[in-house]
């Protein structure tokens, strides 16, 4: 095979195949998130379960750009499902970091693959960003619910939750990556998919 770095039809279709599986898992978990108290679970369950298709996806990634495109598509889909424009930004950053990390392992290193998925998972944080950005401004608009509302929400969703969620995404991403690796060895390699 030629070592041509340009993405071809087949690479793009692969992004679609694994992106579809990843998104279905994301969507299934997000159904839970419709009940708002489960919202933080998104940053735990999605990175862990998503690691299974993503680790298989990484076995198909041999050229630069594929991880970044996958991330951007997640951002676009979040925009379409009404999660706002913030995920687009976090997707771009997380996708780029993951891309660089996996490339530094020459698209082969298993450790770098897990780390790369951890970085990739940080895009999920973008879904929470609109809760934290313009924090005061948003609650000021809700002045009709009174100071009690502002106090209560600030107690439950304090600003320090932001870095906690971000780190949760990353750490659970690493766990998901390890889980994905394990299943890769146990099933997908033997089944001839990897």
């Amino acid at each position: 095979m030629k070592t041509d770095n340009k993405l071809k039809g087949r690479d793009l279709i692969n992004i679609g195949i694994y992106g579809a599986i990843y998104f279905v898992i994301l969507f299934a978990v997000a159904m839970l998130g419709m009940i708002p108290i489960f919202l933080p679970l998104l940053s735990v369950l999605v990175p862990i379960l998503g690691g299974i298709p993503f680790m298989l996806f990484l076995t198909k990634v041999k050229k630069p750009g594929m991880i970044f495109i996958m991330a951007m598509i997640m951002g676009i889909l979040m925009l379409l499902t009404g999660m706002g424009p913030w995920p687009l930004l976090t997707c771009a950053i997380a996708g780029l970091l993951a891309e660089i990390c996996f490339k530094s392992g020459e698209y082969r290193s298993a450790k770098k693959a897990v780390l790369s998925y951890g970085l990739f998972s940080m895009w999920i944080f973008g879904n929470y960003l609109s809760l934290f950005t313009d924090y005061e401004g948003y609650f000021a608009q809700r002045a009709d619910y009174g100071q009690a509302y502002i106090d209560a929400v600030q107690k439950l969703m304090p600003l320090w939750m932001a870095p906690v969620l971000l780190i949760a995404c990353f750490v659970c991403g690493l766990l998901g990556g390890l889980l994905g690796r394990a299943l890769l060895k146990k099933h997908f390699e033997k089944a001839g998919l990897a």
Partner: protein
């Protein structure tokens, strides 16, 4: 009368251009959910919030309309009863209500976009917006595979029942293995065959693709897009310190 694909494509055309819907999702996300803008935008935002519901009604999406209203109702309901609840529940109701009322409108707009746009319309719109093939090809594959994944999922669950594998009290890891692994295996296999078939039909060439799907702006698009421009205009004026009302 003989079949005409051109006529039937015209007849299938949606009420709004997908690009208009996309713009509306963005504007709602920024202004209603994102909370951009101050006092002057409040009446505008009320109208914006009603828009997705009106559109769902206009396109007879009763179920989605009802679901959206229900979610919004629960949200405002929680906020209303919140002060009368004991302390712990009080916080919970406040949080749930706050998040629901904030997100639902934009999510409903997104649902409207997804429910009323065919895959080819969407891809055609992306191509008109000069989104590169590197994005449009994977996305069209994804939309194509979603129904496949749900069918495979169903078939796997059936097979598990038939073989008497019940996961009532079983460990989560087994659920993962028995359901996720075959689902992924068959999706990837189908995806590979899909890939092969698409490539033999010239996907991924350097020529700019055409698209037989009819999209384009009409009066209703113009009105809504003008509305979006108006919203941004009001916001800009407010930033400059001009008081409108």
């Amino acid at each position: 009368m003989a079949y005409s694909s051109e006529r039937s494509q015209d007849a299938r055309r949606g009420f709004l251009d997908p690009r208009t819907k996309l713009t509306l999702v963005l504007v709602l996300a920024v202004f209603v959910m994102g909370g951009l803008g101050g006092e002057a935008l409040r009446p505008v935002k009320t109208i914006l919030s009603a828009l997705p519901f009106a559109l769902l009604l206009a396109e007879r999406q009763w179920k989605r309309f009802a679901r959206g209203i229900l979610m919004l109702g629960i949200g405002y309901g929680l906020l209303t009863v919140m002060p009368f609840l004991p302390r712990a529940l009080n916080y919970l109701a406040l949080l749930c209500g706050g998040i629901l009322t904030r997100f639902v409108v934009t999510v409903v707009m997104g649902e409207y976009l997804i429910a009323t746009t065919s895959v080819s319309e969407f891809i055609s719109a992306m191509e008109h917006l000069h989104v590169p093939q590197a994005i449009t090809i994977p996305m069209s594959v994804m939309f194509r595979l979603f129904p496949t994944i749900s069918a495979e999922w169903k078939s796997i669950r059936r097979a598990m029942r038939m073989r008497g594998i019940h996961l009532g009290g079983a460990k989560a890891s087994q659920v993962l293995e028995y359901q996720l692994v075959p689902m992924m295996t068959s999706t990837v296999r189908i995806g590979e065959e899909l890939s092969a078939s698409a490539l033999t039909r010239g996907l991924g060439g350097p020529t700019r693709r055409t698209n037989i799907c009819r999209i384009g702006f009409r009066a209703q698009d113009a009105v809504l897009l003008a509305g979006c421009v108006f919203v941004v205009g009001v916001w800009t004026l407010e930033l400059c310190g001009v008081r409108l009302w």
